[in-house]
C-alpha cells in the first residue's frame, strides 16, 4: 500500500520516496495509537456513565453494541471489555484512515515545492493543514464499509427481521433496510454525509489555523 502514496502522482526526482514511506509508516502507527487510546477511553467512560445514570430496570442502548462486540455489556466488567474493543476499533480505524489520507501527502509535498515563496523559518513551527477531500474519502469509506459489515452481520445471524433499532437508520438514510441491498444504499448515503462533514471539519480547521497565523504575524 505504501507504493500507492507515490503511484497516485507523477514521479518527482527531487522527492525521496523512502523518506515519504517512512514518514507515512510512522504517522500511521502514531495515529493508530492515539485513536486506540481515545476510543478505548471513550468506551470505558461512556459505559460507566451509562451504568450509573440509566435508571434501574431501563435498558441502556449501549447494550446494542453487544451484537457486534462479543463480551461487551453495560456492566463494570463490560466497560473494560468495551475499552479493549474500543482500542482495537480505534487502532484499525487509525490505520485505515491515515493510509487513505496519506495518498494526498505526495501532492502536498509537490505543492509546497512549487510554491514560489516559503519562509525557511516556517520549517521549525509548521502547523498541519487538513485536506478535506482525502479525509472525506478515508472516513467515508470506513463508515460505509462498517455499515455494510454490521448490517450483513445481522442478516447472516438471521435476526434482520427483529432488528428494529438498525431499521431506525432509515429515518436518516432513506432506502436503508436491514438487508444486503439496503446496506449498500445506506452505505452510499452515509459515505456522502460523512464526506460532507469532513469538508466542514477541514474547512473550519484550516480557517481557524489561517486566522491564528494571521494574528501571530
Amino acid at each position: 500500500m505504501n507504493s500507492r502514496v507515490v503511484q497516485d502522482h507523477k514521479k518527482d526526482d527531487r522527492i525521496d520516496d523512502d523518506l515519504i514511506h517512512a514518514t507515512v509508516k510512522l504517522n500511521t502507527l502514531l495515529f493508530a495509537l492515539v485513536l486506540a487510546f481515545l476510543f478505548g477511553l471513550a468506551m470505558l467512560a461512556l459505559t460507566y456513565i451509562s451504568l450509573y445514570r440509566t435508571p434501574e430496570g431501563q435498558y441502556s442502548f449501549l447494550n446494542l453494541l453487544a451484537v457486534f462486540l462479543p463480551g461487551y455489556s453495560v456492566s463494570v466488567q463490560g466497560a473494560w471489555i468495551g475499552m479493549l474493543w474500543g482500542a482495537v476499533i480505534g487502532a484499525v480505524s487509525g490505520v485505515v484512515v491515515y493510509r487513505i489520507y496519506a495518498r494526498s501527502i505526495y501532492k502536498q509535498v509537490l505543492d509546497f515545492l512549487e510554491s514560489p515563496e516559503v519562509d525557511e523559518s516556517e520549517f521549525d513551527r509548521v502547523t498541519m493543514k487538513i485536506s478535506g477531500h482525502p479525509l472525506g474519502l478515508a472516513l467515508g469509506s470506513l463508515v460505509a464499509v462498517s455499515l455494510v459489515v454490521a448490517t450483513n452481520l445481522l442478516v447472516i445471524r438471521g435476526t434482520a427481521g427483529d432488528s428494529h433499532n438498525a431499521a431506525l437508520l432509515s429515518n436518516y438514510l432513506p432506502g436503508y433496510t436491514v438487508s444486503f441491498t439496503g446496506s449498500l444504499i445506506g452505505a452510499a448515503e452515509l459515505f456522502v454525509v460523512t464526506y460532507l462533514f469532513c469538508l466542514i471539519l477541514s474547512g473550519t480547521y484550516n480557517k481557524v489555523v489561517e486566522l491564528m497565523k494571521g494574528k501571530r504575524s
Partner: protein, 120 residues
C-alpha cells in the same frame, strides 16, 4: 525550482507538522454539534409520529446529555453538549498527536546522542 534537500525538509516538515489544538477543538466541536442537531431535527421533521420506535434510542442520549429531549429545544441542548464533547475530543486528539511526535523526536535525539557518545 527547489532542490532535493528542500524536498527532504518539506517531507519531514509536513510529516512532523503539529496539529493546531485550538483549530482541532473548534472544528470537531462544530461537526459534533451539527451532527447532534441534525440527528434530532431530521427525526422531528421526517419521522413518523405514529411509529412506536421513533426516537426510542435518540431520547436515551439524556443519560450523557442531561436535559436533552427529542424536540427542537432538545436539539439545541444536544448541540451544545455535542460542542462541549467535541471540544474535549478535538483537544485530546491534537494534544496526543503532538505529544506522540514530540516523544518520538525526543527518543530519536537521545538515541543519536547515545551512539555519538559510544563512538567517541
Amino acid at each position: 525550482m527547489r532542490k532535493n534537500e528542500d524536498a527532504d525538509k518539506v517531507v519531514l516538515m509536513l510529516g512532523f507538522a503539529r496539529l493546531s489544538v485550538v483549530g482541532m477543538s473548534i472544528s470537531i466541536a462544530v461537526v459534533v454539534a451539527l451532527f447532534i442537531f441534525m440527528m434530532t431535527a431530521i427525526l422531528l421533521l421526517t419521522g413518523d409520529p405514529g411509529d412506536q420506535f421513533m426516537g426510542d434510542n435518540l431520547k436515551k442520549l439524556w443519560v450523557f446529555f442531561p436535559g436533552y429531549t427529542v424536540s427542537m429545544a432538545g436539539s439545541l441542548i444536544g448541540a451544545a453538549y455535542g460542542a462541549l464533547f467535541g471540544l474535549i475530543g478535538g483537544f485530546l486528539i491534537a494534544l496526543l498527536w503532538n505529544l506522540t511526535h514530540y516523544i518520538y523526536i525526543g527518543l530519536v535525539v537521545i538515541r543519536g546522542l547515545w551512539w555519538r557518545m559510544m563512538a567517541d
